[in-house]
C-alpha cells in the first residue's frame, strides 16, 4: 500500500472511531444517569428509536444538524465561529497517540504522554474563545471558572503523571504500557486516585462541574451556541470524557494488556476499550451521584490537598523505588510491595493529618460558638 494512502486511511479511522464510540457512549450515559434517578431514560415508546432507543443519539444528531445557527448581535463573529472547531480539534488530536494495541497506534512520538498534556491548553483556549466572543455574562462567568479550575488542576495531574513516567523511564505511551507487568493502579493507588480526580476536574465533570454549572449559569461558556455549534461542544465534551478515560486506562490500568493479547493482537483494542469504558462509567456514576462543589472548595482541594500530596508521593516514590532497586528488586513485580508500602504509609499519614486538621477546625468552631454564648 502506498504510504499516502495508508496515512489517509489511518487518519480516517482515527477520526471515525471517537465519533462512533461517542454516539454509543452518550446513550450509555443517558441510560446510566436515568437509572440512577429512577427514570427510564431514552426508550422507544411512542417514536421508533430502535431497541432500547439505541438510535436516539443518531436522531438527536440529525435533528441538531437542521437547527438554525444563531450568532448573537455584538458577538465577535470569527472567534465565535472558530471556538467550536478548536474544541473539537483539540478533543480529536489526543486520539493520535493512544496505543490501541502492540502495533496499533496512530503515532508513537518520543514525547508521548507529554503531547497529551500539551494538547489540554487548546481545549481551554476554545473555552476562553467561546466565553469571550459571546458577550454574555454567563459565558464570561463560566470561562472565569473554567480557567481557574483547569489551570490549577493541571498541576496535580502532571505531578501524578510523573510517577508512572519515572517507573517506566520513558514518555512514550507504548513504553508506558509495556512497562506495566502489573497495572500501575495496583502499585501506585494514591497517584492513580490523584490523577483520576485531576482528570475529572480537567473535563469538568461533577463534582467539578463549575464551568457549565447548568443550575447557576445556564450552560457556562457555551451558553450562546445553538444548533451544531452547540453540538460540537457537546460532542467534544463526550469525546474528551472518553479519551481521558482511555488515557487513564493506558497509564494506570495496563492499556491494551490483557489475557491472550500476545496470541491475538486484535484483542488489544478490545481490552483497552473495555478498561476505558469502565473508567468512563465511573465518571458517569459521579455525574449521577455527586453534588457540585463550590469554586472556592474546588480550588482549596487542589492547592491544599491534591498538589502537596502529589508532590509528597513523587518524592517518596522516587526514594523508595531507588531503595528497592538497590536492594535487588529490579522488576516492577519485585518492587510492588515496596511501592505499595510507601503508598500505605503516605495514605495513613494523610488520613491522620486530615483528621487532626478537621478536629482543630471543630475546636475553633466550638470556641467561637462558646464566645458567642458568653456575649
Amino acid at each position: 500500500m502506498p504510504t499516502y494512502l495508508r496515512y489517509a486511511l489511518t487518519s480516517l479511522i482515527l477520526l471515525a472511531t471517537p465519533f462512533v464510540s461517542v454516539l454509543i457512549l452518550i446513550w450509555v450515559a443517558r441510560k446510566v444517569i436515568a437509572r440512577m434517578q429512577d427514570r427510564l431514560g431514552p426508550n422507544n415508546s411512542g417514536t421508533w428509536a430502535g431497541p432500547y432507543a439505541l438510535f436516539q443519539t443518531l436522531a438527536d444528531a440529525i435533528k441538531i444538524l437542521t437547527k438554525e445557527l444563531i450568532i448573537p448581535d455584538g458577538a465577535d463573529r470569527w472567534v465565535f465561529l472558530a471556538a467550536p472547531i478548536v474544541v473539537l480539534g483539540a478533543a480529536l488530536l489526543v486520539w493520535l497517540v493512544i496505543p490501541f494495541g502492540p502495533t496499533l497506534q496512530g503515532m508513537d512520538p518520543d514525547i508521548g504522554i507529554f503531547y497529551v498534556v500539551v494538547i489540554t491548553p487548546f481545549a481551554l483556549f476554545a473555552m476562553i474563545m467561546a466565553g469571550w466572543s459571546s458577550r454574555n455574562k454567563y459565558a464570561a462567568l463560566g470561562t472565569f471558572r473554567a480557567v481557574a479550575q483547569i489551570i490549577s488542576y493541571e498541576i496535580p495531574q502532571f505531578l501524578s503523571l510523573l510517577i508512572p513516567i519515572m517507573l517506566t523511564g520513558s514518555l512514550s505511551l507504548q513504553n508506558l504500557v509495556l512497562a506495566q507487568q502489573l497495572p500501575f493502579v495496583l502499585v501506585l493507588p494514591i497517584p492513580a486516585l490523584i490523577y483520576f480526580l485531576a482528570m475529572t476536574a480537567e473535563v469538568g465533570r461533577l463534582p467539578f462541574e463549575q464551568a457549565e454549572a447548568d443550575a447557576e449559569i445556564v450552560a457556562g461558556y457555551f451558553t450562546e451556541y445553538s444548533g451544531m455549534m452547540f453540538g460540537s461542544f457537546y460532542l467534544a465534551e463526550f469525546i474528551n470524557n472518553f479519551s481521558v478515560s482511555l488515557v487513564f486506562a493506558t497509564l494506570f490500568l495496563g492499556g491494551w494488556r490483557g489475557p491472550w493479547v500476545m496470541e491475538i493482537p486484535a484483542l488489544g483494542p478490545v481490552w483497552l476499550f473495555l478498561k476505558g469504558f469502565m473508567v468512563f462509567l465511573v465518571l458517569m456514576l459521579f455525574w449521577g451521584a455527586m453534588p457540585r462543589l463550590r469554586i472556592d472548595q474546588i480550588l482549596n482541594i487542589n492547592w491544599k490537598f491534591l498538589t502537596p500530596l502529589a508532590l509528597v508521593m513523587l518524592i517518596v516514590v522516587a526514594w523508595v523505588n531507588r531503595l528497592a532497586f538497590d536492594q535487588g528488586a529490579t522488576t516492577l513485580v519485585a518492587r510492588a510491595p515496596w511501592l505499595l508500602g510507601a503508598n500505605l504509609v503516605v495514605g495513613l499519614a494523610t488520613v491522620g493529618l486530615l483528621r487532626l486538621s478537621s478536629r482543630r477546625a471543630q475546636h475553633r468552631r466550638d470556641a467561637q460558638s462558646l464566645e458567642l454564648l458568653h456575649e
Binding site: 455584538g74 472567534v79 512520538p109 518520543d110 514525547i111 507529554f114 503531547y115 498534556v117 500539551v118 489540554t120 491548553p121 487548546f122 481551554l124 483556549f125 476562553i128 474563545m129 466565553g131 469571550w132 458577550r135 454574555n136 455574562k137 464570561a140 470561562t143 472565569f144 480557567v147 489551570i151 493541571e154 523511564g169 520513558s170 514518555l171
Partner: protein
C-alpha cells in the same frame, strides 16, 4: 533542492506563521492579538516537528501556549474587563516599535547571511536524544549545577510573588 513533502510542509507552515505574526502585530484588539500569538506559537512548534525535535515542539506549546498565553488572558480578565471591552490598544508607540523591530530584523538577517554555516551536522544525532538530554541535565559532569540553580531561582521568584501578592 528536491521539492518533496517536507519542503511543501515547511513553506506552508512558514507562510501561515508569518501571516499570523503580521496579523497579530496589526490587530487592534488585544484578545485577537493573543489568539493570533497562539497561532504563531503553534506554527513555530510545527517547524520544530518538521526539524525532528518533537520535545522542543512540546516544550514550545507547553510553556508559551499553556503558560504565557494563559497568563496574558488572565491579565485581560482581571484588568480590562472580559466582556465587551472594545477599547482598541493605543497606537502612540507604533512607529517607535516598528523602527526597533525593523532594525532587529535587519541586524539578524545581516548576521545570518554573514555567518559561514556548517553544512554537515557538528554532532551526530543520537538515537534517544530525550534520555540523553535528561542524563546531561542531572549528571555531575553535565549541567546539574545550572539546572538546580535555575530551579532555586524559580523558587525565589515564587516566594517573591507570594510576598508581593499577600494581603496585609
Amino acid at each position: 533542492m528536491s521539492f518533496g513533502f517536507e519542503q511543501i510542509a515547511f513553506l506552508l507552515t512558514a507562510v501561515l506563521t508569518v501571516a499570523a505574526a503580521l496579523a497579530m502585530v496589526f490587530s487592534r484588539q488585544v484578545f485577537h492579538a493573543i489568539l493570533l500569538m497562539i497561532a504563531v506559537f503553534a506554527g513555530v512548534a510545527t517547524l520544530y516537528v518538521l526539524l525532528g525535535v518533537s520535545f522542543m515542539a512540546g516544550m514550545q506549546l507547553f510553556i508559551y501556549v499553556g503558560g504565557v498565553s494563559v497568563l496574558a488572558v488572565i491579565a485581560i480578565m482581571v484588568t480590562r474587563g472580559f466582556m465587551g471591552s472594545d477599547r482598541p490598544r493605543p497606537a502612540r508607540t507604533t512607529y517607535g516599535a516598528a523602527i526597533v523591530a525593523g532594525s532587529v530584523f535587519l541586524g539578524l538577517a545581516w548576521l545570518i547571511l554573514r555567518v559561514p554555516w556548517p553544512t554537515a551536522p557538528l554532532v551526530a544525532a543520537s538515537e534517544n536524544d530525550l534520555a540523553l538530554l535528561g542524563q546531561v541535565l542531572v549528571s555531575r559532569s553535565g549541567f546539574v549545577v545550572p539546572f538546580e540553580l535555575s530551579s532555586l531561582l524559580l523558587f525565589v521568584v515564587l516566594l517573591g510573588a507570594l510576598y508581593i501578592a499577600r494581603e496585609r
